[in-house]
């Protein structure tokens, strides 16, 4: 009897001692090893980086309007708080893409650094494609960070050459976060070029103007690489990659010389959801917007006077209109509507299936012509410049001087976020519309570079802010 009781007690003790595991599962969240177990998982992470391209804090709004209104292409016609400081280049205004870009860069880093691990299920080809696309996106993101937060190589003011911290390893836990100093502009450019060259080797060609351009392609990488070379002053390489793009995939400019409405229609999202010249275009669909926030922040709402409740706070500057008017044949003169408050751009027409929504072209073929023209200069570059002008209805030919190319680019890419960067990378002062009440912003003024977010400076022992901010 006694031994039986002893056994019972021993067994029940052992039962309690047997409970010793401390493993728990959070059923509502996906653990890293499950999320990243196959290429399909990596594809969804890459999708998140793709999706972020049309964030309102990036090409969905900031990167399209900011570079225009900081320069001389836009006028504020209604004061709502938005862009009021950028319009007058106030201290602490400017473009801030720091946070949302580093999130997307981390998504790219995860793919680039870990997808080739043997434990990840999937074919070698699939992995190569995903890696190539991630490399392209990371290059695009660092290109934007570098041109927003730093001077271009060779254009430094007071030899200040710092760009942004170059994070190229994935963050999967707190201990992965390193307090990095800002890398120099040359170091960042070197990384961008390496990423793009690797991407060109891994990516395929796509058909311009189709849904395929929502993903990175070989020609998109070439065009971005041409631009990066142009920014750092390497005209030879810039011209070479631009020409590869032009002849590369059989696409062509929108030929308005054949059909007077073709260029106008190319921005019609209903009939042409992807721009015919697009090499890379960010796709937007209904689920990407939550409620009215999407419509309120859309390019369409800010730039057009839509009866559906848009804000219409910005119109093209008088100076831009005057510049376009100098060429009476230019079909782009038709790209404006007259509203009570002023002219409106008829470019961001928000006419996809979701009101106010449209896909966002990031890289268009036109840019390759203008890069080639600029890089080759008067003489060799004339043909590229005049080919584009002709397709826009202008029959008079002009030499490919820097002024002529920048004028053409200002008009071709109005409301597409090129103007500020084209002036800045050339070390030009920034002219301002008379309506802003501002005089030109000197290139040597510290406001050419924005503030690095102060919260980030506070958390770091390594980061220094841009000159003039402390």
């Amino acid at each position: 009897m006694k031994s039986i009781k002893l056994i019972i007690i021993l067994i029940s003790s052992a039962f309690i001692f047997g409970c010793d595991d401390l493993d728990v599962v959070d059923k509502s969240a996906l653990p890293t090893d499950v999320a990243l177990q196959d290429v399909q998982g990596y594809q969804t992470v890459l999708n998140s980086a793709y999706e972020s391209v049309n964030d309102f804090g990036y090409y969905g709004q900031t990167m399209m309007i900011g570079p225009e209104i900081l320069a001389d292409n836009m006028e504020l016609i209604q004061l709502t708080g938005r862009y009021e400081l950028e319009y007058v280049n106030a201290v602490n205004s400017g473009i801030n893409i720091w946070f949302n870009r580093y999130i997307a860069i981390n998504e790219c880093n995860i793919i680039i650094e870990t997808i080739d691990d043997e434990s990840v299920a999937g074919s070698v080809d699939e992995k190569a494609r995903l890696r190539g696309e991630a490399l392209f996106l990371r290059a695009l993101f660092y290109h934007d960070l570098a041109r927003v937060y730093g001077y271009e190589p060779g254009r430094e003011v007071d030899n200040f050459n710092l760009a942004v911290p170059l994070v190229v390893t994935p963050t999967l836990g707190l201990t992965d976060i390193e307090d990095l100093p800002r890398a120099s502009n040359v170091e960042v450019y070197t990384q961008i070029k390496a990423d793009l060259n690797a991407a060109i080797g891994l990516l395929q060609d796509v058909t311009p103007g189709t849904t395929e351009t929502r993903f990175a392609s070989r020609n998109a990488a070439r065009l971005l690489l041409a631009r990066v070379h142009l920014y750092e002053g390497d005209d030879t390489q810039a011209a070479a990659f631009a020409q590869q793009v032009i002849i590369g995939d059989g696409s062509d400019l929108v030929q308005d010389s054949l059909n007077l409405n073709l260029y106008f229609d190319s921005f019609n999202d209903a009939s042409l959801p992807f721009h015919p010249e697009s090499l890379f275009e960010s796709e937007l669909q209904g689920p990407d917007w939550s409620g009215v926030d999407g419509a309120n922040n859309s390019l369409h709402s800010l730039l057009m006077n839509d009866g559906g409740g848009s804000q219409f706070i910005i119109s093209p500057s008088a100076e831009l209109i005057a510049e376009i008017e100098t060429e009476s044949e230019d079909v782009r003169r038709d790209l404006f509507n007259v509203e009570t408050l002023g002219l409106e751009y008829n470019k961001w027409r928000g006419a996809s299936s979701v009101p106010f929504q449209e896909n966002i072209p990031i890289l268009r073929l036109s840019e390759a012509y203008l890069i080639a023209a600029e890089a080759l200069g008067p003489g060799p570059g004339d043909a590229f410049l005049n080919a584009l002008r002709l397709e826009r209805g202008i029959t008079t030919e002009v030499p490919a001087t820097l002024d002529n190319v920048l004028r053409e680019k200002r008009i071709e890419f109005m409301a597409e976020g090129h103007r500020w960067f084209d002036l800045k990378r050339n070390g030009f002062d920034i002219p301002k519309p008379a309506a802003s009440g501002e005089t030109s912003l000197l290139y040597t003024d510290f406001r050419i570079l924005p503030r690095i977010p102060q919260s980030e400076i506070n958390l770091s022992d390594q980061l220094v802010n841009n000159p003039g901010y402390n």
């Binding site: 009781k5 002893l6 007690i9 021993l10 029940s12 003790s13 309690i16 001692f17 409970c19 010793d20 728990v24 959070d26 059923k27 509502s28 969240a29 996906l30 653990p31 890293t32 999320a35 998982g41 594809q43 969804t44 992470v45 999708n47 998140s48 793709y50 999706e51 972020s52 720091w98 946070f99 580093y102 999130i103 997307a104 981390n106 998504e107 880093n109 942004v164 911290p165 994070v167 963050t171 999967l172 836990g173 707190l174 201990t175 992965d176 976060i177 990095l180 849904t211 929502r214 796709e283 669909q285 689920p287 990407d288 917007w289 939550s290 977010p453 919260s455 980030e456 506070n458 958390l459």
Partner: protein
């Protein structure tokens, strides 16, 4: 470790053998009660210095074999004073034992073991059953309010069965929890899991009348055995057990009473309101008689026929009924004892349509299977139904706001049809068009919870000095919430009404095994040791669904509408611990104790999953020294000191894990995935370093006794949400606040204070006796360190934590009154000037919600069978922000106002704190209430002294009862919250909404009611 424990257990069991005496004789006798001469069963009779002993039988008789010469018998029984009797040459020793009026043999239950209070070197406070019996409180935490030093308890709501905040020795944590660990019969109860349709309290499952004792372990020495969860203090609750008294005792209590709201705000009647509204318009340059003006909307104050009058406060509050029926039985024999309890409890709320209804059942059973093996079960079941209103709801249309702010000229019910009116009847937009009276009458907000907190255990006496015991406890609650918003209420008609059903299950299991060793050498070296192992897991999960578009307001099952939303959640954690404790004392004079515990917790990363906690303490019972022997008036005098390090793990369950979730939107019609939480493998326990110095004394034949503790705790490694570099590329911030942040161990808080408890017999003359006990705690709280170099943490532009300030404080503008010249509100600027238009930089710390002193005072007067019990409870030195006045003392807007709005500035020269009335509350574009930050205008001293309970009872004399065959018969009358002395400008200084359990704002709170009851207790 496992193997070691098993091995030592087996080794020790082989030593089990009895003691043999060379020459023996037998001593026997009978033990009786000195009070009534009745025999006392169950008294331990032990031959001093040995383990040889016996227990008295049903008739109080014992029989014991002792050595042929000398020897001393020790008689002991819980609740009676132990006695030592030299045997001498006697063979029969009868003894009368007296109740233990003194504290010396009081037992403190410290969880895995019991300790005599006189040997305790840590700091603990106890509340016994008789102190809280018959209180009309639904949960034990309410009942012990003000009765234990160092333990601050405040009601978070006046709702029956609602939440209570318990803070033992201050607030040590900022982000992580501050609730103490609560253990009921060995079960570590979960703090969450109940209804969300009304304020929830995890202790509602226990009928307070089933409770035998509540022990509050305050310092490191007392609570270190609980290691990783002990930093917030530990409350150990023990329910009643049976007596071996032969005949089964039956107790029946019936109590009935009313609960009436008190000190509610006086608000304007319709005429005054019409007057104020007209004044608002006139002051804003409008003609109230114009089309669409205030005369049209709210009536012309000079013509009563132009408006109706509705007293919304009267409509929403009521004198509520409550009723308690309680039945208990206990009894047993030598081998088996039991306690059986059943109760029914119904409490209406002081707000209409809010009530609490509970059934409880309990069976506590203990059985001695053999001389060495005893088994124990404590089983309880509870069913709880709460019909809630928006308790403490921060909604302007909740009853606690809406009753005071609803427009008094808008009738709730159409007097002709009897139908509910739309709100307001004049069609303006106010309180979201929600007729609050209609809402509480037709909405259903019901929570039903079934819960059991039960444990089973066994103890095996291996040898007299060594036992092993095991316990498995379970706390299971099943909750179902229904929230039905019928389409008959206009604001819900748009979606066709809705039904929301939430099912939750909380399962919380803990088990432990421990070895107890207990030995005395040479009669003076008393040694106790305990080693044990414990494992615990908790799972919380739920599923909910919502449907709308019902074709008729009658429908309330989801299938009758259209599915709208489904959801669910899952949470779990696991914890294990090894612990050991050693107590040693030399001849009851020099005491020492050491505790060590090592805990592992699933909440922490693999690098820091285990933590070690410990405490050491020493005590010196000076009264046992020979040099004290001349001081006969000193019965007991002990000084003690303790030091230890405890833990706090009250953070989210999954903070260490990196996880992915869907990012917003899609791409190419595919899903997107991103990191939504970055894991931190480095985080670990918050640590509390605690030091305590104490003195216990009892003098003048135990007529005066007391305890004083001086203590300090430093809580370090506090778990904060700390921002990290955004270039790290992960957004762990919340939606809408895209700051990258993660829980890390940084920052420190210091609490220090003094706990004083004194009591005694103030007067004892003839049949009249006056007992009094008083407790007072002093508390100081200060943040001593924060993350990084910053000494302030901001929420937007308002500081929320500042080094050198308490963990919670009020940061407001210093209100400077109204300029008599123009009626504009002014505040002081940072540099001491006056301004009409202050900014954030003019704010300052103007007070805090943490009391500096709190405590209670109990007085019991007895004369023959009459007992009068008077209990005061108080807290001093804390402030509260009267958020509700922000609405009802607004100088503009549509809300009804408290009547003192009539003091508003009217003409130059008026001296008042109330700015001029305007339509929107602004003057020259400035909000006169400075709503962006608030001002001291609505800050109020929340100190109070409250006559908490007054109980008058009469016990019929035994001589009468015996004739009718009753054991006892008592009638009693009681009042609760009878008188409050306070400067507080709100309704109830005790109930203020929570922030860190200390209260900051009275906005939307459910105030306590004043309760009167009568009852009868019958003992068979």
């Amino acid at each position: 470790m496992k193997k070691f424990l098993l091995l030592s257990f087996m080794l020790m069991s082989t030593f089990a053998s009895g003691n043999l005496w060379a020459q023996e004789r037998t001593v026997s006798g009978k033990v009786t009660s000195v009070e009534d001469g009745s025999s006392l069963p169950g008294v331990n009779v032990i031959l001093k210095g040995t383990t040889s002993g016996a227990v008295t039988d049903i008739d109080g008789n014992y029989n014991l074999t002792v050595p042929s010469e000398g020897g001393t018998l020790v008689f002991s029984f819980i609740g009676l004073a132990s006695e030592e009797v030299d045997i001498g040459a006697r063979s029969v020793i009868d003894l009368s034992m007296s109740p233990d009026v003194q504290q010396l043999s009081e037992v403190i239950v410290t969880g895995y073991s019991n300790e005599l209070k006189r040997k305790l070197t840590g700091s603990a406070a106890s509340v016994k059953a008789e102190e809280i019996e018959y209180l009309p409180m639904q949960s034990l935490d309410r009942a012990i309010q003000g009765r234990a030093a160092g333990t601050q308890i405040s009601a978070a709501t006046g709702q029956p069965g609602g939440a209570v905040n318990i803070r033992i020795r201050g607030i040590g944590s900022i982000n992580s929890g501050n609730d103490p660990l609560i253990i009921i019969d060995g079960v570590q109860v979960a703090s969450l899991g109940g209804t969300t349709q009304a304020s929830q309290n995890p202790l509602n499952s226990i009928n307070p009348n089933d409770i035998e004792s509540i022990d509050i372990l305050k310092d490191a020495a007392a609570s270190a055995i609980y290691g990783a969860q002990a930093a917030n203090g530990v409350i150990v609750v023990t329910t009643k057990s049976g007596n071996k008294g032969g005949q089964t005792k039956i107790d029946i209590t019936y109590q009935e009473g009313i609960n009436e709201p008190f000190n509610l705000y006086d608000v304007l009647n319709a005429q005054q309101y019409a007057d104020v509204r007209a004044q608002q318009e006139i002051n804003s340059g409008l003609d109230p008689a114009r089309a669409g003006g205030s005369f049209e909307l709210f009536g012309d104050p000079s013509d009563p026929s132009t408006f109706d009058n509705q007293d919304w406060v009267d409509l929403m509050f009521q004198d509520a009924r409550f009723r308690t029926i309680d039945l208990s039985m206990n009894g047993g024999n030598d081998k088996t004892t039991f306690f059986f309890g059943a109760s029914y409890n119904l409490n209406e709320g002081q707000i209409i349509e809010s009530e609490f209804e509970r059934f409880t059942g309990r069976l506590n059973l203990s059985h001695r299977a053999t001389d060495n093996l005893s088994l124990n079960a404590k089983l309880s079941i509870t069913h709880l139904k709460q019909f809630g209103t928006i308790s403490n709801g921060n909604f302007v249309n909740g009853p606690f706001i809406g009753a005071f702010s609803s427009i008094p000229s808008s009738l709730a019910v159409n007097p002709e049809t009897g139908e509910f009116n739309p709100y307001p009847t004049n069609g303006i937009n106010h309180l979201f068009g929600y007729n609050i009276f209609h809402g509480v009458n037709e909405e259903i907000r019901e929570g039903r919870t079934f819960q059991t907190v039960s444990s089973v255990g066994a103890t095996y006496q291996i040898i007299p000095s060594l036992s092993i015991s095991g316990l498995v406890g379970i706390d299971l609650s099943m909750n179902r919430d229904d929230n039905n918003r019928p389409r008959s209420i206009p604001v819900f008609a748009g979606e066709g009404g809705s039904v929301f059903i939430n099912n939750r299950r909380t399962l919380n299991v803990n088990g432990n095994v421990n070895l107890n060793y207990n030995k005395t050498w040479n009669e003076v070296h008393n040694f106790k040791a305990l080693i044990g192992y414990e494992y615990k897991f908790e799972e919380r999960e739920g599923a909910n669904l919502r449907a709308n578009q019902f074709s008729n307001a009658f429908f309330r099952l989801p299938g009758d509408g259209l599915p709208d939303d489904v959801g669910g959640f899952f949470q779990e954690y696991k914890r294990l611990g090894f612990f050991g404790k050693v107590d040693y004392d030399y001849n009851d004079r020099y005491l020492a104790s050491f505790t060590l515990r090592r805990d592992g917790h699933s909440r922490f990363g693999s690098k820091n999953q285990y933590g070690t906690f410990y405490a050491g303490s020493v005590g010196w019972r000076i009264s046992e020294e020979s040099f004290m022997s001349g001081l006969d008036f000193v019965n007991d005098l002990k000084i003690r000191a303790s030091y230890g390090v405890l833990g706090n793990a009250e953070i989210g369950n999954f903070e260490t894990l990196t996880s992915f979730s869907n990012a917003t939107g899609q791409y190419a019609a595919q899903t997107t995935l991103t990191i939504d939480q970055l894991g931190n493998d480095e985080i670990t326990w918050e640590e509390e370093e605690a030091i305590n110095l104490g003195i216990d004394f009892s003098v003048l034949n135990d007529r005066v006794y007391g305890t004083i503790d001086v203590w300090r705790t430093n809580n370090n490694e506090l778990l904060f949400d700390v921002p990290f570099l955004q270039s790290g590329g992960v957004n762990s911030g919340t939606a809408g606040d895209p700051e990258a942040s993660i829980v890390q161990n940084v920052g420190s808080v210091r609490n220090q204070g003094i706990d004083i408890e004194v009591g005694g017999v103030v007067m004892d003359k003839g049949d009249f006796k006056w007992n009094s006990s008083f407790n007072l705690s002093f508390l100081e709280n200060e943040v001593t360190d924060l993350t990084g170099e910053s000494d302030t943490i901001f929420d937007g532009s308002i500081p929320t934590l500042i080094v050198g300030q308490p963990v919670s404080f009020f940061y407001l503008l210093d209100y400077a009154g109204v300029n008599p010249a123009n009626g504009r509100a002014m505040t002081r600027t940072a540099d001491g000037g006056l301004t009409y238009n202050p900014g954030f930089e003019d704010g300052r710390v103007v007070g805090d919600p943490i009391p500096n002193q709190f405590g209670g005072w109990t007085n019991t007067f007895t004369y023959k069978g009459i007992t009068l019990d008077i209990f005061f409870q108080f807290q001093l030195g804390n402030e509260s922000f009267l958020g509700d006045l922000y609405n009802i003392l607004d100088n503009g807007g549509n809300d009804n106002r408290r009547t003192d709005i009539l003091n508003s500035w009217d003409e130059p020269g008026d001296l008042t704190n109330y700015p001029q009335l305007t339509t929107n509350g602004n003057i020259l574009g400035v909000d006169q209430e400075f709503g962006f930050i608030g001002s001291t205008r609505f800050l109020s001293d929340a100190s109070y002294v409250r006559l908490k309970t007054l109980t008058l009872s009469y016990d019929f004399p035994k001589s009468i009862l015996e004739k009718v065959g009753l054991r006892n018969f008592r009638v009693f009358a009681q009042g609760v919250n009878l008188i409050t002395w306070t400067e507080f400008d709100g309704i109830d200084p005790e109930v203020v909404a929570n922030n860190n359990g200390t209260g900051t704002s009275s906005f939307g709170t459910f105030p306590l009611g004043r309760m009167y009851s009568i009852g009868v207790n019958l003992g068979l």
